[in-house]
Amino acid sequence: MSLVQPASTAELATLIRGAARDRTRVLVVGGGTHGACPATEDGRRISLAGRLRSVVTYDPAELVVTVDAGLAVEELDATLAEHGQEWCADIVRGSTVGGSIAAGASSLRRRSIGPLRDSVLGLELVDGRGRLIRVGGRTVKNSTGLDLVRLMVGSRGTLGVITRAHLRVRPRPRSRAVVRAGGASLAAAIIAARQASVVAAAIADSSTVQLLLEGWPDDVAADAAMLVEHLGGELDARPGSFPQVRSWARWPAVAMLTVRPSAVETLLGRAGTRWATQLFGGHVWIGGDTVSELVPSCATATERGGHATLISEPGWPTWPAASAGNDTRIGERVKAAFDPDGAFPRLARWSPA
């Protein structure tokens, strides 16, 4: 299927108005890495990654950067790194800023740097009528009207095409280290990690616990020594990317679940050996051979006030499976407010049909 790459916001708006008029659809893709847009949808696929990819303004003293949505996260990171700063999204090769926001893809380091939605101060988008809409602003604090910024985060190209983003950035940590322990139990790892003060991410699977420490040098060194003493394992004082082991990347199908931390144990109890979990925050990955066999775990998660996303074979779409506390009736009306003629797809839900 051909990929249209508009050269300007005006061209994008014309495309969307055309789709609204002809009752066809505009399917926006960023880098195609988060599967934000269902591959099964019919319509004209557009990408901003080719031509709308500038850093618009960046004043490091402000800790705010304004970028076009098609900018690759990796390129943004390189620009910010020159000034010792970073954005809070994980770098996935090819992923774009707009796509990361549309997918609501929070970092594995969420515990220390916060969820992605907290870093998006404002957006420009083109809605389903082809109108250029600004939401939020460029200030760190803003209580001006409805928070349409957060509504756009995770909306997966169903409300509008994000064209520009004002992002809050942060100082890069001065020091990093990874502690990797083979034999530690999940319970022991949790107790030890809670005593540490600079754990940015902590991922356990059936064979290993990996802890990423980030902060000021003395604090990282103190926590690293404490964790090695309690959990055994090895210290990597010059770690590259984290985690070094992504067990879930090897499974044919994955359910990505977020639940209350107290519900993690129940989910893992049924998971066999294909599981991984963050020690904080209630994030769980459960693997299977097919998406269908993961549906019961998704149901358990949402029944317990959590959220579930299904990821199948590489190149296949990612589906938000289900989420507790989502009123679909209001959701549909909100969708109609942005996109009355259906120029964008509906928010896809996986169904076992």
Partner: protein, 493 residues
């Protein structure tokens, strides 16, 4: 004021409608939970803003089901509903208009559940911010938002206005700490939006509710995230020879990578009056005083503290004071926290305003506020959250002087315009309410406002939830009658 009140009713019918609403509410809530006497109607006709409103009846429900019943009764008779917490909001979001039914959540004060393991608590809307904090303290946990009104403001009100506070610099405002809400929609349905687990998938309707100032419905309970109480706290205070030096120093501290939990700035007139009032040890010869709080593990506090002191010295700081023990920290904070009370000593009335600008534009914004106030023959003093660019100019005046209120409002609007021109926003943490409703056009195009309105109508198709707030009326006409009812200011404690 006739906005959307008693839909379709002739003036003669209104008394009858209100009477029926009172009787129906009394039947459901009991007579002690319904007020329609003149004194109550006057009390509930205003909040802590400068605007006088009107209402027809006040309901004091005890739980979500009763709130839903109140909304259903009001709707049946076509009366708008105005939710109210403590009424401490400064932007008029809880100021009722026309024949509104005020639904106050102050009797809903139950902390429903606290889970240390999950780091969340469900609390009813009427629970006071400080009561929740005191309840959580023995567990080593807290609810991070710390508005100046924390002793009297409710969680429901904090959610409605997306309340902030000095320490929101590091830990975020209310929207960063609300996982889910139970909300009564305009059709009387009780809906749960969001969940105890973080990071919802799909449309974040919960996030729309936070900061919506009651225009989407009435929040009856909120699931809030709990934050560990800060440890290793250090407060650093310094005076500066100029406000420019203080503000650029703050910018540089932030840019250098210091993650302070609070950075507050006070200008000379405020410092003078604070010191006389609180004897907090602030330098009286400084043009501006900056208070910075750091917390965290020992390495972080030591290194950041060194950076702060170095940058401050580089900007000509006089008399840097560092406090680590709780008593000395409390004394330094006491000055900042008594600013509002202290200002009443130098001005018969004051109007506390709220705008935010990109933090590198703080100096421009402060200069603009002074220039605009002077052009209107008024004085403005500044106490604000410098670290996140959140200005709180206090416009001082004496309401007994004829024509003063018009000059006060002109000053406020001038400041809002100046902040928007500097790339800022109308409100950092107080909300829009009635106060800034008609200024929304400074920030948003007609199409953008129409989208806001359409999203609001997704929750409340008939516009009965706190109508007339936040979004300007379609007819693009400012309501001069509301502007002229300003009759009071500066009495807040």
């Amino acid at each position: 004021m006739t906005r959307r009140s008693t839909l379709g009713a002739e003036p003669g019918e209104r008394g009858g409608i209100v009477g029926r609403v009172v009787r129906e509410l009394e039947a459901i809530l009991g007579p002690s939970a319904v007020r329609a006497d003149p004194l109550s109607l006057r009390l509930y006709a205003r909040d802590a803003s400068m605007i006088q409103g009107t209402c027809s009846v006040v309901a004091l429900p005890s739980n979500a089901v009763e709130v839903a019943a109140c909304v259903t009764v009001a709707r049946r008779h076509g009366l708008p509903v105005v939710p109210r917490g403590a009424g401490s909001g400064l932007a008029g979001g809880a100021t009722p208009l026309g024949d509104a039914v005020v639904v106050a959540t102050t009797r809903m004060r139950t902390i429903e559940s606290v889970s240390v393991e999950d780091g969340v608590a469900w609390v009813e809307a009427g629970v006071l911010n400080l009561d929740l904090k005191e309840w959580l303290a023995p567990l080593g946990l807290t609810f991070a938002p710390d508005p100046a009104s924390e002793a009297c403001s409710t969680i429901g009100g904090n959610v409605a206005t997306n309340a902030g506070g000095p320490r929101c610099l590091l830990r975020g405002v209310t929207r960063n700490h609300v996982r889910a809400v139970d909300i009564v929609l305009a059709d009387g349905q009780i809906v749960r939006l969001g969940a105890e687990a973080a990071d919802p998938d799909g449309y974040d309707l919960r996030a729309l509710v936070v900061g919506s100032e009651g225009t989407l419905g009435i929040v009856t309970s909120a699931c809030v995230a709990l934050t560990p109480v800060a440890t290793g706290v250090r407060v650093i205070l310094a005076g500066f020879p100029s406000i420019e030096g203080a503000a650029t120093g703050v910018s540089e501290i932030v840019a250098t990578g210091v993650s302070a939990s609070a950075i507050e700035l006070m200008d000379r007139p405020v410092v003078q009056v604070i010191e006389a009032f609180a004897q907090a040890g602030y330098p009286l010869d400084a043009e501006a005083v900056v208070l910075i709080e750091l917390d965290g593990p020992p390495g972080a506090v030591a290194e950041q503290s060194a950076i702060v002191e170095q940058v401050m010295t580089g900007h000509g700081a006089i008399g840097i004071t560092v406090a680590e023990d709780a008593d000395r920290r409390a004394r330094l904070w006491k000055g900042r926290k008594s600013a509002q009370g202290a200002i009443t000593r130098i001005a018969p009335d004051f109007y506390q305003y709220d705008c935010a600008v990109p933090r590198t534009r703080l100096v421009d914004a402060v200069i603009a506020t002074r220039r605009i106030a002077a052009a209107n023959g008024l004085t403005v003093v500044n106490v604000f959250h410098a670290g996140d660019g959140n200005l709180h100019p206090f416009i001082m005046f004496d309401r007994r002087q004829p024509g003063t209120l018009d000059r006060v409002l002109a000053t406020a609007e001038g400041i809002a315009e100046a902040c928007v021109r500097l790339g800022g926003v109308l409100s950092g943490e107080h909300g829009i309410g009635l106060e800034k409703r008609d200024l929304m056009r400074l920030m948003f195009s007609a199409e953008e406002l129409e989208l806001h309105r359409a999203v609001r109508m997704a929750f409340d198709p008939d516009g009965l939830s706190n109508p007339g707030k936040v979004l300007p009326e379609l007819a693009a006409v400012a309501a001069p009658s509301e502007r002229s009812t300003v009759d009071h200011a500066g009495s807040r404690s």
